[in-house]
Structures are given as C-alpha cells and as structure tokens.
C-alpha cells in the first residue's frame, strides 16, 4: 500500500515534468526561451561562438570528443595532485594513477563508478571537481540527443546545432537551477552541507567516540541524481543518512533522476512537431519500467534465503540485509530499479545483497541498454536507435522502405543504429569473458558461487552502460579492474555517441517524404509494442546465456549456500 501511494506520487510528479519541463526544454534549445541570455552571452563571447554558428555533425562530434578528453585530463590531474591543493581538511594524499584514471573517466562519461571510499580518499576540492563533471556530462548527453532529434526534425540541412551552445544552455537553464532548488530540500531534510571538516563526537551515555566525515554533500546529491550521475560523496552513497536522510529525500531522488529523461521525450515530440511521437517513446519506457518495478519490488519483499535459513521466522518486512530501516524493502527496490534503468547507478541499499531475482532486475535493467527512461540525453538517443530498428523490422515485414518521421531509413542509417545498439553488449561480454579467464579478474569477487560471477558481470555491465552502480562486494580497486573498467566506460559512451551523431548528420541531410496511406505510423500502440519487442529481443538474445550463469542459477539453487 505504501509502495502504491509512493508510485502514485512519483507518476504525478513525472507527469508534471513531462508536461512543463519537456516544453520548457524545447523552448530553451530552440532558442525561444532566453531569459538567461545575459548569462549566456559572456560565455559565448569567451568561446568566440554564437547560436547562429551551426556545426556539421563531424565538427559537433569533434568538439564533443576534444571537450571530453580535456575534461578527463583535467579531472585526472586534480585527483593526482589533491595533496598539494587547498580544501583538503583531512590531508588526504594523491589518488593512485590507475584509480585516478578510472575515476576521471567515470565522471566524464556520466558513469560515476566508484572504486574508492569518497570520505576517505577525496579532498573537498576533488569532490567539487567531480561535481563539475556531474553538470557537464549530462549536458553533453542532452547535446547528443538534441543533435539526433534535429537530424530527424530538419530537412536537407548540413548542420545539427552548436555543441557549445547546447551544453551551455543545458547547464544554465536546466541543470543548475533545478539542482540548486533540490539541494535546499536535501539540506532541510538533514543532508550535510559544510566545508568545516569532520565532526568529533563523544557519547556521554557510553563514552563512545566517533569522527564523522562531513562535506559539501547535499548539493552534490542534488546534481548526482538530476544528472543521472550517481556518484555520491560517501562510499555508502544514497544509503548514507547524510546523503539521503529521509523517506522524502528518497522519493525526491527517484523523481530527480527520472525527471529529465522522461521530459526529454516531450522535448523530442515538440521538436519534431508531434507530441504523440514523444508519448509513444514514453509509453515504451513506462511499460518496461513498470514491469521491472513490479517483479523487483516483489522479489525484495521476499525473505533473504540466507537469513531465513539461519532460523529467522517469517517477518512483515522482506529482505532487509543491506537496506536502511527508514526506507524499507520495497522502496529501496524502487530506487534500485529507477537507478539502473537510467544511467544513474546511485544506491540507497546494498544491491549485492538483493535476492537473486531482485539483483536480476537491476542487472537486466542495464542490459536492455538503459532506455526506460535511460540517462539524461542517452536514454532518448538510445531508444531512438531502437525506434529506428523497429521501423526497419516493420518495413521488412511489409516489404516497403521504412520511414521514421518522414525520413527514409536506408542501409546507412541501419548500420549506424546497429553499431550504436551493439557496442554495449559486445563490450560487456568480451570484458567479462576476459575477467573470468585471468587470475586478476577472478580474485576480485567477495561472494562465492554464481554470485561471484554476477559481481564481475555486473561490474562490466554497469560500466559499459555508464551506470555506475555495483554489486559492491567486488574488490575492483586494482590496476586490472581500474584500467579495463575505464576502457569499458569510454567505449560505452563515445563508441555510441559518435555513431548517434553521424546518424543525426545523415538524417538531417535527407528530405522528408510526406506520409501516405501506406506509411507505418509510429505513434500507435502497435509501434510501442514493436519498440518494446525490439528492446527485449536484443537484450535477451545477447545476455540470456550470461545471466543464466549468474542470478538465474542462483535463484534455482534451493537450499545451497556458497562460501
């Protein structure tokens, strides 16, 4: 009942986002909403660019790659020399090269995979440097989505927009104001926000002493969720009361991380001139999200097999291992689903201790390509790849050149969409195979048996999807996992973004064919079903064997426990 009411509030909040934030973003990125022009203009002057200077897809992609490369370098350097920089009250030393590489790539690619315990590893300045990327990486995601949408919306155009303008507007009009407002709520509820260093406390009842790390946490939490980043200040992420203090902030987190990906489908609809087209994509997202929420929350409401076998009688609460008392079983599971079906990867519970089917829900959410609703920007462009694939399949069935939004989908478009869809599964499966084949890979899992394999599979699935959540038992702060993980994150980000931008460019150059009586409509329930089918089919075909060795065999191992 509590879960039901929570979902009702969640759906209502997202409906408001879809209606208003979606329209607002379309206005911002089409240059119709300009109330912050006074802040934009100096940026463009410094960059020597302007909204009128449009770029071809090649230049757009070039700017993106150079900007992201420089961001990685800058973040890496700050982490390496944090010991000599200010804002370091706990006098923490340099981050090791492999870890700094992994962390820099992680935050620039919107992954926020964390191979370190934040409160014991990073200075305040390093955390602030990561926050910069928590704003910029979702802005870059939005920019790529915009380029693809413009490709669909424009006719015979050589250009797809201006990368610098899109990123600047995404930060100034969307991310910064919403994150700031949400940050205030986090603080009011109890999240910490101070630069005063750790607190030293002594309990006069027991004589117990504690040193509690503090920092600028609350406002990092806001952009961590809003930008579908997921990297928190503390190792325990959203389970830590200083990051996520109450049931209200837990719901706010879920709303924030879903808000932009959901609203972008409305933005898409507005930009291509038909809200129904956006609604169709949203419907596909919602069906997948609803199904996964259903079985994952059900699974977590069941007793934990190990705890039940230890002799605890049946309880009204389900699997509480690794969960916080204030959130409970099902709302932790809801948070987990939202976090893994977007590219967020934040956690308010230990995903490693979820029941086998619950863990499968999280893992498989990422394996579907994070399209329901996916990361900021990345969710929209990835589901558009599946939409193009769906019209292609429909076209094959009726023997007619497929069209999407009046654009003919031909060999070139399908090649690019195919690359964009297949990069992630290839990276996940190849790297997992390497890791289980070598000693350095096999020593990392904490848990034995099928769950140990799941920890490795989860690690690469998460990084290649730029998610960042983990089955946290894995000891992945090793040179092997840091380096390989960095490669997974880079490929999972840029080997998809570049084909998407190319697709945007190719589509933009095309003329639009008017819809005729034989045109396959892409705003109907039939099309929604076809998109969902394509997503499920590709996910199942690529990942079923791997998943059966992990969570599925674990679920079927009744009465067996692994050392």
């Amino acid at each position: 009942m509590d879960l039901f009411l929570t979902i009702v509030v969640l759906v209502a909040a997202l409906a408001v986002c879809w209606r208003f934030l979606g329209t607002y973003m379309a206005g911002v990125f089409e240059g119709r909403i300009t109330f912050l022009a006074w802040a934009e203009r100096p940026v463009y002057r410094l960059l020597r660019t302007s909204p009128e200077q449009e770029q071809t897809w090649q230049r757009y992609a070039g700017a993106l790659v150079v900007f992201s490369g420089l961001s990685i370098l800058f973040t890496y350097l700050v982490l390496r020399i944090q010991g000599s920089l200010p804002l370091n009250p706990e006098h923490l030393g340099a981050v090791s090269p492999a870890l700094a590489w992994n962390t820099a790539v992680s935050f620039v690619t919107n992954t926020n995979w964390q191979n370190y315990a934040g409160e014991r590893t990073l200075s305040y300045l390093s955390q602030m440097t990561l926050v910069v990327q928590q704003f910029l990486s979702p802005a870059v995601g939005i920019a790529v989505a915009l380029a693809l949408v413009r490709g669909l919306a424009r006719r015979e155009s050589k250009t797809v927009g201006n990368f610098w303008v899109d990123v600047t507007r995404a930060v100034l009009y969307v991310l910064l104001p919403i994150a700031f407002l949400a940050g205030i709520v986090f603080v009011a509820q109890g999240a910490v926000q101070t630069l005063a260093g750790p607190a030293h406390v002594r309990d006069s009842l027991t004589g117990f002493t504690q040193v509690i790390p503090r920092g600028p946490v609350a406002f990092m939490e806001a952009i961590k969720q809003l930008g579908t980043n997921g990297g928190g200040f503390y190792a325990a992420n959203g389970a830590m009361p200083y990051e996520n203090p109450t049931g209200l902030t837990n719901l706010l987190s879920i709303v924030l991380l879903l808000a932009i990906p959901v609203a972008l489908t409305a933005t898409f609809g507005d930009m291509v001139g038909s809200r129904r087209q956006g609604l169709a994509l949203l419907a596909a997202m919602a069906v997948l999200f609803g199904a996964w929420t259903g079985f994952t929350t059900w699974a977590e409401h069941q007793p934990n097999p190990a705890v039940a076998a230890a002799g605890l009688p049946h309880q009204p609460t389900g699997n509480m291992e690794g969960k916080e008392a204030r959130f409970g079983d099902t709302q932790s599971a809801l948070y987990g689903v939202a976090s893994t079906q977007t590219s967020t990867g934040s956690a308010d519970a230990a995903y490693d201790s979820f029941n086998p089917i619950g863990g499968f829900g999280l893992l498989s959410g990422m394996m579907l390509g994070e399209v329901s609703p996916g990361g900021v920007g990345s969710g929209l462009y990835t589901i558009l790849l599946f939409a193009i694939l769906a019209v292609f399949i429909a076209g094959l069935m009726v023997g007619r050149t497929p069209e999407y939004l009046g654009k003919k989908i031909q060999a070139r478009e399908i090649q690019l969409a195919g690359i964009g869809i297949l990069v992630m599964p290839i990276v996940v499966l190849v790297l997992t195979a390497i890791a289980v084949s070598v000693h350095a890979g096999r020593v990392a899992p904490l848990n034995g048996g099928p769950h140990g394999f799941s920890e490795i599979l989860y690690a690469f699935t998460s990084q290649a999807n730029n998610n960042g959540s983990a089955f946290g038992g894995i000891s992945s702060n090793t040179a092997f996992y840091n380096v390989l993980g960095g490669v997974a994150m880079l490929l999972g980000r840029f080997a998809i973004m570049v084909p998407v931008l190319a697709l945007g460019g190719v589509l933009a150059e095309k003329a639009t064919v008017p819809a005729g009586p034989g045109t396959f409509r892409t705003d109907t329930p039939l099309f929604v079903g076809l998109v969902i089918g394509s997503i499920l089919l590709i996910g199942a075909l690529t990942f079923f064997p791997a998943v059966s060795l992990g969570p599925i065999v674990e679920q079927l191992s009744h009465g067996r426990f692994f050392g």
């Binding site: 014991r120 910069v132 205030i184 101070t194 600028p216 503390y234 200083y242 690794g322 904490l446």
Partner: protein, 209 residues
C-alpha cells in the same frame, strides 16, 4: 582541432569556477544560514541522530548490527564499516554494507550467531536486528525492533516494561507523509530518553545492574 581545444579549455575553466567552486560556496553559505543544524550534521550532545552508534550493553536499546556490532559477529572480521564513518573509538572505517549475497555461507553463519545471541538475552529478533544496513551506520530501527528488546532492557535497567513500551511508542517517527519509507525509532534518541527516564525513576544511568 585548435579551436576545439581552446573552447574546451575556456569552458572547462569557467565551469570549474561556477559549477565547482561558486556552486559549493553559495550552497554552503545558504545552507548554513537557513538550516545550520542539519547542514552541520544534526549533531546533539551525544552525537548525530543520523549516524548510528554501537550500544553494546544490554541496558541500552540496540541498533542494527554492524561490524562494530555488539553481538555475536566478530568485530575483528570487519565485514563492513559499521557505525564507523571515519573513525570510531580510534578504529579506522568507512561507510558501507557487508555486500554478502543472498546465498552466502558467511551471511548464513553470521545471522545464525546473531539470532543465537538475541535468544540468549530473551529477545525474539526482527529482521532489522539480525541484518546489517546499507550504510553500515543506520541510526534507526523499526518500532517493532525496539519493542522486542524490552524484556532485555527491563531486566538490565530495572525500568518496568510498561514504562519502556510507552517510551518506545513516544519515540516512533512515522513515515514521511505517512507512506514514504517506513516508520522508525532513532536508537540514540531512544537511549537518551531511556537515560532520562532512569534518572527520573531514581535509577542510576550509566551503571549496569
């Protein structure tokens, strides 16, 4: 290429100044002005109400078991950073869960030991009391988890069970808006109230009996 590099560098430096430094300082200034208690960590005289502590004597209500755990679990094993965000009683730690899987032998054995410990103290444990939390420093337990500990605490303190029951019921925080999350009892606040009650009843807090 050169143009991209120059623009990247300029945008990155602007972003660092605005989104890194200015954002953090403006946010901290505002938070300290509007909500200083929360922004500084909800600290009271005995610690933070948001960060768990190990209450390991039977005269206190206990929180979630963590590796600092009072119970049967071996503290030296260090399976998590329980109650130990940076340093607790001089020992290093960090926040985090045990990460034991649902079919872990270690989890099975640890839980068995915890259940045995509770039974030895006359308590029929709830799931909160035999499972570790996500943060490893969960400050809360469910109201039922506090109620089941009453026989143990009553025996150790001499406070009548009826008074303890009333005390627990007063300390229940309902879920936000009635349905967001679960109702909880803050273990530190509950024990502070318990010490208060003992003093009022003329019992001596701080001494085991």
């Amino acid at each position: 290429m050169y143009v991209h590099l120059r623009r990247s560098l300029v945008l990155l430096l602007c972003s660092f100044a605005v989104l890194g430094l200015a954002y953090a300082y403006a946010a901290t200034g505002l938070s300290q002005a509007l909500f200083p208690h929360q922004a500084n960590g909800s600290l009271g005289p005995n610690g933070s109400t948001l960060i768990g502590q190990p209450f390991d004597a039977t005269r206190w209500f206990h929180g979630r078991p963590d590796d600092f755990g009072p119970y049967a679990a071996d503290p030296a094993k260090g399976v998590s950073g329980g109650d130990n965000p940076l340093e607790a009683d001089g020992l290093q730690g960090s926040s985090g869960p045990t990460n034991l899987g649902p079919r872990s032998k270690v989890l099975l054995e640890d839980t068995r030991a915890l259940i045995r410990w509770w039974h030895e103290h006359g308590v029929q444990p709830t799931s909160d009391l035999v499972t570790t939390s996500g943060s490893g420093l969960d400050p809360d337990i469910s109201p039922r988890s506090a109620l089941v500990q009453i026989p143990m605490v009553a025996k150790a303190t001499g406070v009548p069970p009826a008074d303890l029951r009333a005390l627990v019921e007063r300390e229940v925080h309902p879920a936000e808006w009635g349905f967001l999350g679960s109702p909880t009892v803050d273990v530190l606040q509950l024990n502070e109230a318990l010490a208060h009650l003992e003093a009022r009843l003329g019992l001596h807090p701080g001494k085991s009996r």
